[in-house]
Every structure is written in structure tokens, then in C-alpha cells.
Point group: C2
Chain length 376, copies 2
């Protein structure tokens, strides 16, 4: 496999240990924790060229490049990050981090609970977007980064970027909020709840302590992912890519794969259920549900965002029905009414919510232009 010249190439995952207890929004406290992270590019002497990339529901710290022994394991936002790519690692020092509660190396439900020596399982505390930002701030301290040149992310990652601008106004110069929303709707929560119930009611879930039983709730995780995929794609894209295409020339009138869309969903579900941790999935969906920065200001998003000092880029995608463009415009409107500095792009794309992961020319041109304007 040849490595493109604008790839960051082979990368190495790192890990930082944090000894200071982290008080969580729920009132619980994580006594100590590890965060898995990766960096690309070189930090300048002033530490002023650092950009934090936050991941979405199923992402990780592996944002770009590949591992030397796993050339096919390419980072989830590799098309955006690299030397000469829109997020240019010739200029920027880029940091990816696996969130607390994750299952890619950071402390999470499958990690040993120091109190028992067994996996945390159901005892792992609920983590919120605010908690993640607190934990990420300690990683910034650890890396000697006083303020991020930018914090960015898509979907749940965009919510973290937004929270950064609120929680640490002095530590974020630019905030890029892609395909996100200021809070979930009832319908968004409903989809999350069905996914959670699929996992929680899987007999192999064992109340979250399945590790001890040598099983994994793959059925529930598979259903959760299949459902998720419906909401990540657009109706249009599904129609174009799959339509009513059948596996065989004539119907089999059975419950095996009949339509290609069924095959796609089963494949995605099986693949995901094979490696992802069910407790992490539950935690991530709850973090989405709870995210609501305007709750503290009586539902007034404008007031909630008033303390931000960052400049903003907000981007949405025309066919995203999970977090539709109107949700992004709620953020934009609040910022505009505050007289804050915000650029907004609603991008025409056929790929629904997943558009934020795609290498679309117009989208990447917007990202490149904005990021090029950020001084280091």
C-alpha cells in the first residue's frame, strides 16, 4: 500500500495518565484516568499552533495516518488532516484524543476499576460533554498548550468544540462546529433510546457487567448500529445507492437478505458489534442526550454563548436530517445576535449526516479557507 505524500504517514498512539481526581457533572468522581491520544505535526515554541480534534459517537484518538503494523487502519478524518490537506500539519500541531468512557485506550467501562480490580462495567460513571472538555483541558496542560488555535469536531465532536468555547473562553481562539446541534430534539433522543434499549435488554448485557461472563451483547450493539446508520445517511443517498435493488433476480420470500439495503445494514451492524464496547456506546448516547449548554441560562442559547471569546465556523449539510441545517442556524443566530464573529456554510451534499466525514470539494474548500486564516 503506497502512502500518499499528503498523509501524515505512520503514527503512534500515546497515553497520558492523570492522577488528580476528576469531579463529574453527575456528582461522581473519577479517581484517576488515562487518555489515549495522537498528535500530528510539530508544536511550535509558543505552543500557539495546536488544534484539538474531538470525536463523535464511535470515533477515537486515531484521527489521521495509519499504524506501522496496520497499514489499513487509517484515521477517521484522514482526508482532512495531513501535510497540505485542509487541516495542514505543516502548519498545525493536531491532537486527537479518545474520550473518557471510550473503548480505544482511554479509561472506560472495560478498564479495571481500581476499587475492585475488575472492569468498571455498570459502575463506570456517566460522563457528559462538559466532563470530556474538562478532561481534555488537562491533556492540554499535559501537552503544554495554553490555548488551542482551534478546537473542531463533527456531530458530537462539534458539541465538544462548542462546549470548549463556553467552558474555557480564554483557551480557544477558533471553534469549528460541524454538523452539530445545540441540543438534541425529542426525535434525536428517541433514536438513542431505542439503541440503548437494544443493548440494555440484550440477555448478554448482564446489567453492564458482561465482561465477567465472557460474553458481549453483540445483538443489541448490532441493532444500535444498524439504526444509527439509517440516521447517518440521507433518504436520497439511500435511494441512489440502494433503492429497491435486490440481492437476487427474483425474491426469495424469506428473512434472508432480499434487498441490498438490508445487506448493507447487517454488514455495518456486524462489523461494529465485533469490536465496540456496549457500555461505551450507552455512555456516548447519554452524553448526546444530556448536552444542552443553554439549560443553565433557562434555554437561552444566546446567553449561554455570550461568554465565548472564540471566532466560529459553523457548517451544516443540506441532506443531514439527524442534525439538520436549521439546528446549526440556531447556533449561528445566537452568535450573530451576540455580535460574535461567526462564519456559516450550509453545504450541498447528498451524504446526510455522514457528509462531515466525506471528502467533498466544496466542504473541504470551506475548511481549508477557514483554517488557512488562523494565525499560529
Amino acid at each position: 500500500m503506497s502512502i500518499p505524500p499528503d498523509s501524515v504517514g505512520a503514527v503512534v498512539a500515546q497515553r497520558a495518565h492523570f492522577d488528580q481526581p476528576l469531579p463529574l457533572k453527575s456528582g461522581a468522581v473519577i479517581p484517576a484516568y488515562d487518555l489515549a491520544f495522537e498528535t500530528y505535526g510539530t508544536k511550535n515554541a509558543a505552543g500557539s499552533n495546536a488544534i484539538l480534534v474531538c470525536h463523535a459517537l464511535s470515533g477515537s484518538h486515531h484521527v489521521a495516518g495509519h499504524y506501522a503494523d496496520q497499514p489499513g487502519n487509517v484515521g477517521w478524518w484522514d482526508n482532512l488532516v495531513g501535510p497540505g490537506r485542509p487541516l495542514d500539519t505543516n502548519r498545525f500541531f493536531v491532537v486527537g484524543v479518545n474520550n473518557l468512557g471510550g473503548c480505544h485506550g482511554s479509561t472506560g467501562p472495560s478498564s479495571p476499576n481500581p476499587a475492585t480490580g475488575k472492569p468498571w462495567g455498570a459502575d463506570f460513571p456517566m460522563v457528559t460533554v462538559e466532563d470530556w472538555v474538562e478532561a481534555q483541558a488537562r491533556l492540554a496542560d499535559h501537552l503544554g498548550i495554553e490555548a488551542w488555535a482551534a478546537v473542531l469536531g463533527g456531530s458530537l465532536g462539534g458539541m465538544q468544540a462548542l462546549q470548549w468555547a463556553i467552558s474555557f473562553p480564554e483557551r480557544v481562539r477558533h471553534c469549528l462546529v460541524i454538523a452539530a446541534a445545540p441540543r438534541l430534539t425529542a426525535e434525536n433522543i428517541a433514536f438513542n433510546e431505542v439503541a440503548r434499549q437494544a443493548i440494555l435488554t440484550d440477555p448478554d448485557f448482564h446489567g453492564g457487567n458482561f465482561y465477567e461472563f465472557g460474553v458481549r451483547p453483540v445483538r443489541g450493539l448490532r441493532l444500535a448500529r444498524m439504526l444509527g446508520h439509517i440516521t447517518y445517511l440521507s433518504d436520497d443517498q439511500m435511494a441512489e445507492k440502494f433503492g429497491r435493488k435486490m440481492r437476487n433476480d427474483s425474491p426469495s420470500y424469506g428473512f434472508e437478505v432480499e434487498f441490498e439495503i438490508e445487506s448493507y445494514l447487517r454488514y455495518q451492524g456486524d462489523k461494529f458489534a465485533g469490536f465496540f464496547d456496549a457500555n461505551t456506546y450507552l455512555l456516548m448516547t447519554k452524553a448526546l442526550d444530556y448536552f444542552d449548554p443553554a439549560l443553565a441560562t433557562g434555554g437561552n442559547l444566546q446567553a449561554a454563548l455570550a461568554r465565548a471569546r472564540a471566532k466560529f465556523l459553523v457548517a451544516s449539510f443540506s441532506t443531514d436530517w439527524r442534525f439538520s441545517p436549521s439546528r446549526s442556524r440556531e447556533i449561528v443566530n445566537a452568535l450573530v445576535h451576540n455580535g460574535q464573529d461567526v462564519a456559516y456554510a450550509n453545504l450541498s451534499s447528498n451524504f446526510g449526516h455522514d457528509s462531515f466525514l466525506m471528502e467533498d470539494r466544496q466542504y473541504h474548500a470551506v475548511m481549508r479557507a477557514y483554517l488557512e486564516g488562523i494565525g499560529t
Copy 2:
């Protein structure tokens, strides 16, 4: 409980037995079968005032009225059907029928298989909309109805009405297709497939033969119904009715009900899983998937509908995203291009796909006006 004067009042379910084997579209044959049905109003001497009401995914023959010993068990379309109601039983003889494969009295997977004496279970053959219409035609024969004054239904019921107009052009004078589509999209099939996989992978499903094990796949059925409900409601209605309302004043940071929408979905899921047959649910979703009258004419709906002799009313609802107004317009356009007689109403409603079951003033006025114009 007082009975409103425009209710059909207490009704009695009936059952007809059919001895003649029914060849199905799949190639399988049902050797003999029962159909449960109800009638409201009085058939005139010529049998020319009969109207067939077809049910959707989870409906039954119990369309209107209540049972004498169950006054709270009111038919699913009671608000439409009764003396003086839009479908006026003073004029019309209305027939409701439980479809083949159902679980409300008609022969289905939970009925004894004559070959074994045990419930059919997984051996019950796949039934299609065309098969249902064939079976309903035999019920019409049994009731002495040469031609229906009208066949109507919402959602999957509307598809049956449409199929009647194609399969038996001479036996349908009016065809009312409400909140339906000429075929499912990939996204529609995707939702059905997730629901099916929830049932099929429930360990209590036992390959469809759970009856013998004394269990029911309630977990899968519950998930299927929860998911279904998301697609029946509109995003707007969910926002209005539930929004982000929480059960308690402050979050519990656990997996019990936090938001009211979660409570609603769990309640609906539990209720449904308590009585519905899982195999029937699977069959109904497959009937939806397979429905595609234009398949035989190379995808040309206009050609498929050309043989219909009925006059049509097509109705859609503004916030229905399961079968959006544009899907109804596909049917209307095909009929218009054929020069066929069609009226179309796109009704403003906040209730999404479920609108077709609601007692909306404008909607019922349209139904009343159209039905009043049907001669008996």
C-alpha cells in the same frame, strides 16, 4: 361509559372459513384458512353499498364500535365509521377484515398448522398485499358482494386499496388511498429490517417456533414497536408533545427514564409486545417491503395503474415523513397521466404518519365529502 349516538355501538366479530386452497405469490399454497371480520350497517338488496376497510401493520378487523363485554376496546378507525360519521353506516355496509397471517382471529403463524397440529410458526408462508386482496375477494364472494362501492385504507391499508383497483378493476368503484406510497424506499425498508432483526435475533424467538417453548420474543417486539413509533410521529409533534421534558427536576444520570419521550416509547413498546404476535409483525413488514405494483410493468406505475376502473381519492399529510406527500403524488401523477378520475388532498397536520388515524376537522371533511358523493 356512555356510547355516543354516532357510534356503531356494540359489535360482534365474525369468522368465515375458506376451504379452497389459496395459491400465494411466493408459490406456496395455504390449504384452507379462516378470516375474522366485522360488519357495520346494513347491506342493501343489490349489495351495492358495501365498503371494505383494510388495516395497516398492527390493525385488525375491529374497525369501529366496541365489544359488549369490553366497552373500552374501541375499533381503530372508530372516529371515521358510524351513523352520521364520515363513513356513514346509515348508508354503507362497512366490512373490516383481519388479514391472512394476522394475529387477531384470521389464520396466521400462531394458528395450528393442519399438517402438524402445532402452530405454523416459521412455516407460515410469506403473504403479500396481492395475496391479501385475493383472500379478501373470497370474503366478498362469501358476503355476496359483487363489487365494492369503495375500498379504503391508510398506510399499508391504502396499499391494499390500490392493489384492489389493479387486481379486480371491475369490483372496485372507488379507491381511497390514504397516507400510502406506491412502494417503499430504501429507507423505509431499512427501518423494517432493523425491526425484523430485533425480533429474529431475540433468543426467545426460537426461529419463529417460540410457541412450543412457552416464551415470546417480547424484547424484539418491544424494540420493533418503539422504532415504529418514531416513524409514525412527526419531528414537530414530538418536539411539541415531549421536547426535552424530563421526568424529574434534575437528571438522574442513569439508564432509567430521564426524558418523557423515553417513557412514551417504552410504554408503547411494552403494551404492544404484550399482545402482538412476533411472526405476524415480521410478515406485515415483509408485505410492505414487497409491495411494488409497478414491478410487473418495469417500474412504470402509470402502466400498472392503467387497468384500474375505480375513481380515486388520494390523501397525504404534510408532516408524514414515513410516506411523505411526494409519495402520494407519485400515485396521483400516474393516474392523471392515464386520464383517470382522481381527487387529491394534501392535508396540513402535525401528527406525522399517524394523522390518518386522527379526527382532524379538515381531513374528515374531505373524507365525508368524497364518501357522500359515492352512490349506493
